[in-house]
């Protein structure tokens, strides 16, 4: 089992007049999946973005492997993969080109690696099509291929099954579980819980 660990201590964050994160703390070890649930506006996306280091916390800190992430953000960012609401894909590029330019910024990629990731995400059939011609669900599958290509230990996923059909939802659950079994950490903000075996799963419900 991997020795990865993510810990958040006493997170406080305001969005305008709203105190969204009120002293939130959490700890996740390698091999675990934390599913974050809560009503709309409860702060799920805010929590994920705070864990990424994209948001400035009023109080509290995030620790990766026991070290405050603010001390070395580039190394922390190298170790995480974040998938937000919208897949970061360009409509005028093909799925393969998108992955080449998006994930290629992080690490060297070969064409074979891209094709393999598309295959694993169930998107191999439309790898050469322009993204503008893909459905929302197909775009999500391409984004999931990007997630696989990042080879990051920590996955922070915001509604990863949005626009996916039942098959795609099962695929995401299986990929998440496989990532945890491989020693990785997944923190996923979800409206509908992913079907993952109990030994890996932990839950956090945010109050609105």
């Amino acid at each position: 089992m991997s020795d990865l660990s993510l810990r958040a201590e006493n997170l406080h964050l305001w969005r305008g007049e709203r105190h969204v994160l009120k002293g939130l703390s959490l700890a996740v070890q390698g091999g675990e999946v934390l599913q974050v649930t809560g009503a709309n506006g409860a702060g799920k996306t805010t929590l994920l973005r705070a864990l990424c280091g994209l948001l400035h916390l009023e109080e509290g800190r995030v620790l990766w492997g026991g070290n405050d992430v603010q001390q070395d953000l580039p190394s922390y960012h190298e170790a995480l993969a974040y998938l937000g609401h919208e897949p970061p894909l360009k409509a005028d590029l093909t799925a393969c080109e998108n992955l080449h330019y998006w994930v290629g910024v992080r690490r060297h990629l070969s064409e074979a690696q891209i094709r393999e990731a598309l295959q694993r995400a169930g998107a191999a059939a439309f790898g050469e099509r322009l993204v503008r011609s893909l459905s929302a669900g197909q775009r999500r599958r391409v984004a999931i291929a990007g997630l696989l290509l990042m080879t990051a230990g920590l996955w922070l996923l915001d509604e990863p099954t949005t626009n996916l059909d039942a098959d795609g939802t099962r695929l995401v659950a299986a990929l998440v579980e496989a990532h945890a079994k491989g020693g990785g950490i997944v923190v996923a903000a979800v409206h509908h819980e992913l079907s993952i075996s109990g030994e890996h799963l932990r839950r956090l419900e945010l109050a609105a």
Binding site: L54, K90, L93, G104, V105, R107, L148, H179
Partner: protein, 243 residues
């Protein structure tokens, strides 16, 4: 359903081994922006068309007399180049901010400053360079002598480098602003005044057949200063806008 293989989570050392260099990442960003622009060429054509129309309107609205047009040619060329560049600046970060690409850049582990510099470089290649190549035609139509036309290209090329860099700061600051075009103009135009002054002075001297080296050197110094500082400021503004 696709098969799901159990992945191995990379250790820090193995991850570092495959991580691309900042320069390679910047190169990819540059190539991506160029490819996107050529697939959607209206963003390249619009500033050029605007530049051509504005410089054509001046002889129609003032005088067709070449000697008088020659006098106002430097100002016309530079104001038209500045406004044309502003048109394209609005798109520099907007699409990338909306679809989450900037967020991914910020989380890539690469230097955001290098990536922003690459985007600005692409912007200049797609806007400043074509304007510099079109400027001699407009200059000729405004009565500039043939001997001055290469000099006009050089001054506009160097000046637009500085304009793109200054503009990148404004574009980054207005990422989250709806219909931020006006605010972008208000932010960038005052900062562009020194470039406009020395650029039009260099062009004026070139048209008059005098040495314009001093003005060109000042223009070059501004471009160098811009390359050094503007990507840092723009990257900081992008980070703030992502919050």
């Amino acid at each position: 359903m696709s098969t799901v293989a159990q992945p191995s989570v990379p250790t820090r050392a193995s991850s570092a081994a495959v991580r691309g260099s900042a320069l390679a990442a910047a190169r990819l960003v540059l190539l991506r922006d160029l490819r996107l622009a050529f697939r959607k060429p209206e963003h390249i054509v619009q500033p050029l068309a605007f530049f051509a129309i504005v410089t054509t309107l001046f002889p129609l609205s003032t005088t067709p007399e070449l000697s008088r047009l020659r006098e106002i040619a430097p100002g016309v060329l530079w104001v038209a180049a500045l406004l044309s560049g502003l048109l394209a600046l609005e798109f520099l970060f907007r699409d990338d901010a909306q679809d989450g690409t900037l967020e991914q850049y910020a989380l890539s582990g690469q230097s955001l400053t290098w990536l922003i510099l690459a985007k600005t470089c692409a912007h200049w290649l797609l806007t400043g360079l074509p304007l510099a190549l079109l400027a001699p035609l407009a200059g000729g139509a405004l009565g500039a002598p043939a001997a001055a036309l290469p000099s006009i290209t050089v001054t506009i090329a160097i000046g637009t480098v500085a304009l793109s860099l200054v503009g990148a700061i404004g574009a980054a600051l207005t990422i989250g602003v709806k219909r931020g075009g006006v605010l972008l103009s208000v932010l960038v135009l005052p900062l562009a005044v020194p470039i406009l002054i020395f650029g039009s002075r260099a062009t004026q001297l070139a048209i008059a057949g005098e040495s314009f080296v001093a003005a060109l050197e000042l223009l070059g110094a501004m471009a160098v200063l811009g390359v050094t500082l503007a990507p840092l400021a723009a990257a900081a503004a992008v980070r703030i806008s992502l919050e």
